[in-house]
């Protein structure tokens, strides 16, 4: 199936998109109990690239397959937050009339990290492991794809639920981060600075009726 074409983005738009993406994963990671680090947007292979450290390391030793599955579910939800934010970002892009199948295109053409990997690429690897733990193996690759899809859909909805709980703050926070100073064209915002900006974003969000209005105000 041929995916619909996404609009060509300027470097500035791409940077804004990455900031929202990385912040969404940052907030989701923290909600799920992972440690978080700085937000870092740089340039690799001539393109704006997400260089934020986001490995979601295990907070306790994984002693069993059950532990690994629990860890993977949370990691998948962190990555899903990036996909959800990306869909939101495109949804707000002026002149872009997103249809349902655009979500698949956005998922397949996600924000790239320094290793040129997208959330989609990472999710595919992790979902195979999670399927191996939670489902009976089958000779059929179609069945494996169905299993991966079912697990992903469930976790995506779980992630969406949490995302919605902080989305208003996230959109304001991303505007604040976009306005932070750059050094040699790169944007690095430390964890400490993010905490301060997050407080500011939360205050602004509490005064606002809708996230869209708030972003316009800012």
């Amino acid at each position: 199936m041929e995916l619909p074409t996404l609009p060509t983005l300027t470097n500035e738009q791409q940077e804004d998109r990455i900031i929202l993406h990385d912040l969404a994963q940052h907030l989701m990671a923290r909600e799920l109990g992972f440690e978080t680090g700085q937000i870092f947007v740089g340039t690799r292979f001539g393109q704006p690239t997400s260089l934020s450290k986001n490995r979601s390391k295990a907070t306790e030793k994984l002693n069993s397959a059950v532990d690994v599955a629990a860890h993977l579910r949370k990691r998948i939800m962190v990555l899903s937050a990036g996909v959800i934010s990306d869909a939101h970002w495109f949804g707000k892009l002026p002149g872009f009339d997103g249809k349902e199948d655009h979500l698949t295109a956005i998922y397949a053409n996600g924000v790239m990290d320094g290793a040129r990997l997208t959330d989609h690429d990472k999710l595919q690897e992790l979902l195979i492991v999670l399927c191996g733990i939670e489902r009976e193996p089958s000779e059929s690759y179609d069945l494996l794809e169905d299993q991966k899809h079912a697990i992903f859909s469930w976790l995506y909805q779980e992630a969406l639920h949490i995302f919605n709980s902080f989305s208003e703050k996230l959109f304001i926070l991303s505007t604040l981060v976009i306005n932070e100073g750059r050094s040699r064209g790169e944007l690095a915002v430390s964890d400490e600075r993010l905490v301060k900006l997050e407080v500011e974003a939360a205050n602004l969000a509490s005064k606002s009726q809708s996230p869209h209005d708030q972003i316009v105000l800012l």
């Binding site: 440690e35 680090g37 490995r55 994984l62 690994v68 990997l117 195979i128 492991v129 191996g132 193996p137």
Partner: protein, 217 residues
């Protein structure tokens, strides 16, 4: 030191070796494999080896998960290991650390723009959670990941050395396969056939070279 200069033909050859590294290691690790394709786009060679990673049996213990992850990481690392062997063979010298880093970080990128490094690191982070006590320091995790990487890399090197002769012979056969519109696509059946021919050639060459090893009954 900068990496040795390569022309188009050498570059295609390098990519063939890299992709066959993934392909043969995947077979060794018991994963199903598909076709291998090499294409030239915008003057750059890139390739893709179709591998179907999946658990053969239920991953119901920590050991089973560890085993699957290790095998999958070996498949991902085999490409770069073979590529380094290709440099050694082609230019008659080993690469220094900077050259190695350049290959590991930037070289062969497959068709969908995925580098093996990122995938391996994503999986090694889980392996670190299985094998090591958790750490609160980011640098410690980096060190754990680096140590695990080195361990699995060395294991993979050992495994690659077992089929490297066959791989070089197979790469020669694959490079002779026809290309169309700057793309060489070798389907699974044909690749399996060529792999068998390469293995037979290596076996018979070894027999010719070491007659003293022949057993008589």
């Amino acid at each position: 030191m900068a990496l040795p200069e390569t022309n188009h033909e050498m570059d295609d050859n390098r990519v063939i070796h890299h992709e066959l590294g993934h392909w043969l290691m995947a077979r060794e690790m018991g994963f199903s494999v598909g076709e291998v394709s090499i294409e030239r786009k915008d003057g750059k060679a890139s390739g893709h080896a179709t591998v179907f990673p999946r658990a053969k049996s239920r991953l119901d213990t920590a050991e089973a998960v560890d085993d699957y992850l290790s095998n999958r990481i070996r498949v991902l690392l085999a490409g770069v290991i073979v590529e380094i062997e290709w440099y050694k063979k082609t230019f008659g010298r080993a690469l220094d650390k900077k050259e190695f880093d350049r290959i590991y970080n930037n070289r062969v990128i497959d068709r969908s723009g995925i580098s093996d490094k990122g995938k391996a690191e994503e999986l090694i982070a889980i392996l670190a959670g299985l094998r090591n006590e958790p750490t609160t320091k980011c640098n410690d995790l980096d060190n754990q990941i680096r140590a695990l990487f080195v361990e699995i890399y060395q294991e993979t090197q050992q495994l690659v050395s077992r089929f490297l002769g066959t791989l070089f012979a197979l790469a020669k056969l694959v490079s002779n396969e026809p290309s169309q519109n700057d793309t060489k696509q070798v389907l699974t059946e044909r690749l399996t056939e060529l792999a068998n021919i390469a293995a037979e050639n290596i076996a018979s060459a070894a027999q010719t070279e070491s007659p003293s090893c022949t057993t008589y009954s």
